[in-house]
Amino acid sequence: MNKEYVLEIEDLTVEYVVEGEVTQAVTDLNLKVEAGTTVGLVGETGAGKTTTALAALRLVPDPPGTIRSGRILVCGQDIMKLSQKQLYNVRGQDISMIFQDPMTSLNPVETVGDQITESIMLHEKLKRPQAWEKALEMLELVGIPRTRAMEYPHQFSGGMRQRVVIAIALACNPKMLIADEPTTALDVTIQAQVLDMMKKLRDQFNMGMILITHDLGIVAEICDEVAVMYAGRIVEMGTLDEVFNHTRHPYTEGLFNSLPNIKNREAKLQPIPGLMPDPTDLPVGCAFAPRCRYATEACKAAQPAAHHFSDTHFAACTAYEDPSFRIERSKDRE
């Protein structure tokens, strides 16, 4: 097999030091993204999703954050070893990111056409007229008529703004795109449009994509692989089918059970009891153990090892030391 990885993250650990206290935001994280595929990064607030994404661009705010260890390869280049100048070239050209709130990522006093043009001229040796022309093409690509290039961000609706942000991010044809909750601020019907467009663009440019979200519905929609994060670690990872239909980790199961089932409205919600642990004071053992219905003493004693169920699918859960163990969700389905 000869796969082209556009992003490889190995053993990434990111810490925040606040008032002398160390918070492990991300611990020993491994993630690979293949060109033309989308990896969904799922988890709740504070799970470390955004920090992971920022680390991939070496944008973790320092201080208070530091990348303690790990190797991050973007299109084969180790970005931890790049100079600031090289880093600027990599960002935008090889790897790009879009944020949740489109209004804060756009400059309110510049026309959208100019904003796209500038990001093109930053990375490509084009004269302004050519760059402008390309900017108009980008706008059309994301479904905005070229005639609106002279307008300012406030003249656009939320969905349109997010399209502009995407146009800027894609202006230099990056090979890797990280989308951090790109549709959370949008309405459902608009969300459907934007997701649809992102899927098309990914296939058109053969981009690798990380989609950060807390919405498993969106994951099912456009992701090929899913990584579920909890308290800074990936607890389960696999292909979409494996994670959704052969769920292994109790936390992933808990997430599914917390969602209202649109097809069966009588079904009772089964929330995960309790709260996410304090990131400054993580337990020695499995961070999920205090909330886990299957937890045993062994879970609290040591970090769970990853148990592989296939080449692509693993779950970090101690219960699988016993090969006959199955969680409720997969019992129903097998």
Binding site: T45, V188, D215, G217, L255, P260
Partner: protein, 319 residues
Amino acid sequence: MSEVVLEVKNLKKYYKSPNGTLHAVDDVSFTIEKGKTLGVVGESGCGKTTTGRTILRLVEPTSGQVIFNGTDITALSKEELRKMRCEMQLIFQDPFSSLDPRNTVRQAIAEPIIYNKILTDKKAIEDRVIELMEIVGLAPRLINSYPHELDGGRRQRVGIARALAMNPKFIVCDEPVSALDVSIQAQILNLLEELQDKLGLTYMFITHDLAVVNHFADDIAVMYLGQIVEKAPAEELFENPLHPYTKALLSAIPIPETGNTIQRIILKGEINSPIDPEDECRFAKRCLYATEECHKKTPALIEVKPEHWVACCRCGELQ
């Protein structure tokens, strides 16, 4: 027919803006029966939040009536309204801004009890606060905590306890879970459901999340640009949506399952401005089925099947 708790008749709320009159809520009517939940769904700017606020008269209505247990709230004086408010409460969307940062959990929950003289004995108040905390699932040790020390789910529980302290009969829940993480969201939804059973509460549940409203509501009203375009029992609405907008909305819900084959209805076209809207179907410009007829006048909400109301000129043909 069971007892009607709330009846809203032709409720309107217009705002003056420099560009014209903004029709935030435009001729909305509905009823809610005792112990039931009416879900109000719609996208941002459709007027669902304003409707909720206007019913509680936190915002003064431009015209229309809100009849709560036989009393027209819009005709009450300020003093009468304050008494009435004991029975109607609001649960806020954002648990981070709906609690006074300078008040402890005890103060937040005790405030309505003390202020409205529901209880006067200090010991009784303290007992009631602890009782309420238990009802909403807050550990009593948190009684002296400040909001900034609590996470979103717990703050939302404080907000609910505060609303319950007034012994309300009717609660407007304005997106009570949309600021919370999924696992916490389910905890709060279950809590609200339990409370409804235990205390016989009536809810108006405002949300943009269709999966949540389907799970939670008995009846659902779909709002678009200040008007109700479709209203039906939840099951009926999800199985047999009639309005083109409802159809598009339902098809757009991302479903957390693999191998979905649902055909997305992708809406095109510009959203009408809510400022001085013309007398036409407000959805017509984005509607796949719009004809000239639709641009002529605003369609009325009519009962096409028992309990199923739709405002669409063409719904007869499209069925």
